[in-house]
Symmetry: C3
Subunit: 271 residues, 3 copies
């Protein structure tokens, strides 16, 4: 496989204040001058592996097959936690073994995993605090040049990678119990409850409860209610979302990631 203009996406908790993202890109370009670098997000909250896991789950398939996804949220940088190269669904993923890949694993999207152990990826010049730049970027660049995941080190069984504890969505009689997953830039409240997972077809939605409020209006789009009014819809990633038309729903509701959400359904909702 020769792939000189491979796409490499970047997902980190580095923010954009410092030159860290730029340094990471320099390392990628050193390894593969013709790669195409795309920022997925650098605003994962610091050290928040679960948000990184959700981000890559919902976004990787937006890119063409063959894309390499480098995800650096790495509070254990420099310690013995391995660095992994995973492949599946036509995509590649490079990340520390700390749970980042666990929602891809849950979704059965991962076909192979290898642990990076080849000594030339760990020269003496590696900074113990920036494996993203000094190890993972060279690995991603080697993949972009056409490298085979098996070249980097031994195979790892899926059940042996670390998993994040994602609060489960619980299906009870007549309702689904989940949580607020994140608040987006618009103040839209993205939940952990995927609409499609339970065969949801819209007709069965009754109402949604969050922080003592009950929202009964299910719409397809934002602009179907009055400006400022709350609504529920199925968002562009397939999850239930609480929003307000041209207003900040999270501020109206005063909610935060982790708050409980209940979706009441008319039909049966067993998983």
């Amino acid at each position: 496989m020769d792939n000189p203009s491979a796409i490499i996406t970047l997902t980190t908790d580095f923010g954009l204040r410092d030159p860290y993202v730029g340094q990471l890109k320099g390392a990628l370009l050193k390894g593969c001058p013709a790669c195409i670098l795309i920022d997925l997000t650098h605003a994962v909250p610091p050290w928040d592996v679960m948000t990184a896991a959700f981000t890559i789950r919902t976004s990787y398939a937006c890119f063409p097959a063959g894309a390499i996804h480098l995800i650096v949220v790495d509070p254990g940088v420099g310690t013995l936690r391995p660095i992994l190269v995973a492949a599946g669904d036509g995509h590649f993923f490079v990340a520390p073994d700390n749970g980042i890949l666990s929602l891809l694993a849950v979704d059965r999207k991962i076909e192979t995993i290898h642990r990076v152990e080849r000594p030339d990826f760990f020269p003496a010049t590696v900074s113990p605090t920036f494996h993203g730049r000094d190890v993972m970027a060279p690995v991603a660049a080697a993949l972009a040049r056409g490298g085979n995941p098996a070249e980097f080190g031994p195979s790892v069984a899926l059940q042996n990678i670390r998993m994040v504890q994602v609060p489960p969505v619980v299906a009870e009689a007549g309702c689904l119990r989940g949580q607020v997953q994140r608040i987006d830039h618009f103040g839209n409240v993205r939940t952990t409850i995927r609409a499609g997972r339970f065969g949801f077809d819209g007709a069965s939605f009754v109402c949604l409860d969050i922080k003592g409020r009950r929202i009964s209006r299910l719409t397809a789009t934002y602009d179907e209610v009055d400006a400022g009014s709350l609504l529920v819809l199925v968002d562009s990633d397939g999850y239930f979302e609480i929003a307000a038309n041209r207003a900040n729903a999270a501020e109206i509701i005063d909610c935060a990631p982790g708050d409980g959400v209940i979706v009441h359904l008319a039909g049966k909702a067993s998983p």
Copy 2:
């Protein structure tokens, strides 16, 4: 026209916290793997069509001819508002029909407009809340591959697109009355009053009034007054700007978008 390395600029209100910009770029790369993606800004205030209109007016011509400008500020996403492909001045513009293109229209920069109606751009998988990713990006990518705007749907007359209500600049005897358009990152106060439009030549400037302050110093550059002092200049987009040398003028003046600005001129100022 074959344009495999076409430039596509992106202007949105998505912010950079979420993976939405990355997902948009993934869709663009799926449609045109060799396109060059440039962020113009993703910090248009949420749903603020007027700021998007000013942004594209002042920035498109900085790019080479043939560039495709994708502008996604779309509070009506998923409703019946059309998606437009406009062409003019050697550039292409893809945006919802909500006023984004209206300042280009005022400037007589638009030559043709087509409404996207071709069914293959509206497959069943389109998310009703993310037409930027699922409709507009594929359209922009098709243009980048060499597509002709007429392929996407019927022609639309310029007078039939939606216009934003931009507060007019009023020329009275001896003065021009406008508004604060936006506050930039440095605290520079960008007004709606274009210096060149009224044949302004600098010599006729007398003073500028804003929020009870009168500023008489017109300079060419920031560093001509003492640090912290206020000044007026013609900014890099051709508008009157109120600034302070190495300080935040908007904080000093305590002003915001929409506040009134009066430029007093010595000569006559009828439009």
Copy 3:
């Protein structure tokens, strides 16, 4: 030298709110359509030449040789301050003559400097407030197309460029006295004291004092202490850094750039 896919990095104080970075990139693409544009950072504090100088010192070598580094932090824009093209260590640097290049000069990384005086880089259409877009970007693009620095104007001796006053690191008997250089996105406190400069080998570290606190724990990585505990390490750019495991050290310490830092060493520390 023909270098059609040259890398151009961008370091500015423009922020990402306004379309200024996009306009700069448009100008670069007009001059060199095939260049590869990489954001190093746009979050240098407004007009902060010293931070820009540290940023380029610590980051340029992360990029492949032949890269062109455009640094636009330019409070004197439009005045008589020259624009410089420097070359050294296989890299090129374009910046105003205001001190941005001074830490590269201190490090003896600069081999040649030329002042941009060629009249065609100063057409009548240059905005006096945006030389980044209208002068420096065309210069960087001309370098990217294979231009020779000597083409732009006369040679300048290294001792004639402007230098920023970086507070010196002072080596006394048993200690090094420096400052907080910047606080990063994670709250890590980056100091002005480079570990390697004084032959530091870790064994000689005794403790670090900052704002009345004494930190004795020197580690290689963040995850070696309890969550929330303070530590000192040598950061990925080679400087002493004060951090906390999965917590914001700057908030814990309540420190800011410019605050004093003392590193106590067991051995001798004369420079």
